[in-house]
């Protein structure tokens, strides 16, 4: 129904992109010699590259399809995912948490837990992370294949194997460097597709005021769908998002988003690839600026689709909310722009797969294989192992994608699964970094209890006994529960067990870590005001506040 008439030019645009992506892989291969080169780009990247890669890594299927779908379903309140969620969390990561990650020289996020707590905590987190990332990679592949089938009519297997094959080649060759370079390139191509799409869509609905009129009149959305905060009062939620402001601020903002952006290794890995602490801290801060504006090209198209596409919002089939952006592409873009937009979508989904695969191969190689199986092999051994882990990861992801094809709501399950591990993790990290008294076993039991709490809330809600409003609202409350239970158990177990001596916590805990950057003090170029993390962070937060103010009226 939404099959496009792609011309030779459109396919040529796509083919050129594939060639460039593979070319980057081959070029980056010449640079990869050591384990650090392969897994962390030799810690050599400038901040603007890691900053763009930081947000591009997340700009995959779940964001482009999922948040446009939320826009179509819940309205403007979807911006909370960006402005109360991602941006403050990214600022917090850059200003507060990055010195602990970067200065301790850990090679992954789970490795921080290994140093700070003990092996059981580390194994629990490494395993759950490895499983979750490879599943997310598979879901990305599947979502991409669905979109390509919708637009170009390709069989699912063809696009899954083609996209996975390309990702496999460029990561096996060039490791994290080629993943990061391709993410930056992908960022520009997806923007080249989404910005014109949004402008054309807006013109078609009569501009911003035309869109407002149509949203107000639309059933299921209505005037409140134009306001992020109105109708989110406790006890009387009338906003389509179906969650009150407390669960938005604490559940979505403080716990879910902070948990995701500050502890998900697929994100943090990009910052660890930066060339020095100062660049690592600026990575999420630089990323915050484009991130502020992404809702304009993701959520707004969702709204446009809600009022221009007849019958959107079907439970199954082509008219699901998830297809909001692909449907607009097929509806409004002529050949030429069409090629750019399809290439952008494919690029975004491939980068989403690649980001998860690079995080997966690092955790499997260093946190599982080196930590517990073959402990002191030469550096080259782990590079070879990492390449094999990449192949295995991609193959499992392909398998997941085919399984996902058999289950309609596979995507929801996996997102829920991911949130079970992410939400408590943030509590564990905050306590780990700021309370030196937190003991090794407290890390393990806090994490385990927090995860169980999230699982419990999820099933109590979905099976009926506990009514928490919309599924989205239930997720927010589940996150809050996970955070609180994790924090309480971590503190409780800490008080009952023996802490580590201070000398073992140096570089890992506040008060025992040098947070200022040696490079920044020595190099005058690093000292200019616009490179200071606090200044960058403050500006990002100020713009966020300003954007919210604009939408208050």
């Amino acid at each position: 129904m939404f099959r496009v008439h792609a011309g030779a030019v459109d396919y040529a645009i796509l083919a050129v992109y594939f060639l460039v992506v593979l070319g980057i892989g081959f070029a980056a291969r010449r640079y990869v010699r050591t384990g650090l080169d392969f897994f962390l780009s030799g810690r050599s990247m400038p901040a603007w590259i890691t900053g763009l890669a930081f947000i591009a890594a997340n700009l995959g299927a779940l964001e482009i399809l999922g948040l446009a779908a939320n826009g179509a379903k819940y309205g403007i309140a979807t911006v909370h995912f960006y402005w109360i969620g991602a941006v403050p969390a990214m600022v917090f990561l850059g200003i507060v948490m990055m010195p602990f990650y970067y200065n301790s020289k850990v090679r992954s996020v789970p490795e921080y837990l290994r140093l700070r707590f003990n092996d059981p905590t580390h194994v629990l987190n490494s395993l759950s992370f490895a499983v979750a990332t490879v599943l997310i990679a598979g879901v990305n592949l599947f979502a991409m294949a669905l979109v390509i089938r919708l637009l170009l009519g390709w069989p699912l297997a063809l696009s899954i194997v083609l996209a996975a094959g390309i990702v496999l080649i460029y990561i096996t060759l060039g490791g994290l460097s080629s993943a990061i370079y391709n993410e930056v390139l992908q960022f520009f191509v997806i923007m080249a597709g989404l910005v014109p799409l949004t402008l054309v869509g807006l013109k078609a609905v009569g501009g911003w005021s035309g869109l407002q009129d149509k949203i107000s009149a639309a059933k299921g959305l209505g005037p409140l769908a134009l306001h992020p905060w109105q109708g989110t009062g406790v006890g009387g939620v009338t906003n389509p998002i179906g969650a009150n402001w407390i669960s938005i601020v604490f559940g979505l903002g403080f716990v879910l988003s902070f948990g995701y952006w500050t502890t998900n290794f697929a994100e943090v890995q990009r910052a660890l690839a930066a060339k020095n602490l100062s660049a690592a801290r600026r990575t999420p801060l630089i990323g915050a600026f484009p991130k502020l504006l992404i809702p304009f090209v993701v959520v707004i198209p969702g709204l446009i689709a809600a009022v221009t596409v007849q019958g959107i919002g079907a439970k199954t089939g082509d008219l699901q909310f998830n297809n909001a952006i692909p449907i607009l592409i097929s509806k409004y873009l002529p050949t030429g722009m069409l090629g750019i937009a399809i290439t952008g979508l494919l690029a975004a989904f491939m980068a989403g797969v690649a980001a998860n695969v690079t995080a997966f191969n690092t955790v499997v190689s260093y946190d599982l294989w080196q930590a517990y199986v073959r402990k002191h092999e030469p550096d080259q051994y782990y590079v070879r192992f990492g390449r094999i882990a990449t192949v295995v990861g991609v193959v499992i992801a392909i398998g997941t994608a085919f399984i996902a094809a058999g289950y309609n709501s596979m995507m929801d399950y996996i997102q829920a699964l991911f949130s079970f591990f992410n939400a408590p993790l943030f509590a564990t990290f905050i306590i780990a970094m700021f309370w030196r008294r937190a003991t090794p076993w407290a890390g393990f039991w806090g994490l385990a209890a927090g995860t169980l709490a999230a699982v419990a809330v999820h099933f109590l809600h979905s099976r009926g006994p506990l009514d928490l409003g919309s599924p989205l609202s239930a997720d927010f409350w589940g996150a809050v529960a996970a955070f609180v239970v994790d924090a309480v158990v971590t503190v409780g177990v800490s008080l009952a067990t023996k802490p580590k001596p201070d000398n073992e916590l140096s570089g890992l805990v506040w008060g025992l870590t040098k947070t200022e950057d040696v490079t920044a003090e020595r190099d005058p170029a690093e000292r200019v005001w616009w490179r200071r993390p606090a200044v960058l962070g403050a500006i990002a937060l100020a713009i966020t506040a300003l954007l919210y103010l604009v939408f208050l009226f």
Binding site: V20, K105, R114, A192, N276, Y332, P334
Partner: protein
């Protein structure tokens, strides 16, 4: 005793990785490869310019049917123009500030050690 402490083993493993990298960074070969490494800005600039030129040309010859599909906007023309400008920005940046081998080498040697 050091062997039984999981934390000290982790620190040893991290140090081994850092050592392999430090040895590699010191080699002449590394500097040569770094100098020959492609400049990402060039690739972004080149690809955006190419896409921009293609769209712009298509926009010049756009029929009215094509325009009416995109709500009356000659989207290929305008998007092509914007891409050409974006591409030119990156290529100018490369010309004004070429990549030096030193840019890839300045991972900070004075970074405080964990030990």
């Amino acid at each position: 005793m050091a062997d039984s402490d999981p934390q000290s083993e982790a620190r040893t493993q991290i140090a081994e990785t850092e050592k392999a990298e430090a040895e590699e960074v010191e080699t002449e070969d590394r500097a040569a490869r770094a100098a020959g490494l492609f400049d990402l800005r060039m690739i972004i600039g080149g690809l955006l310019s190419l896409y921009g030129a293609v769209l712009f040309l298509m926009g010049l010859f756009a029929s009215s049917a094509i325009r009416s599909k995109a709500a009356g906007i000659n989207i290929n023309l305008w998007a092509g123009l914007a891409l050409l400008i974006a591409g030119a920005f990156f290529l100018t940046w490369v010309l004004l500030r070429p990549l030096r081998a030193a840019d890839l080498q300045d991972a900070d040697p004075d970074r405080p050690n964990v030990e």
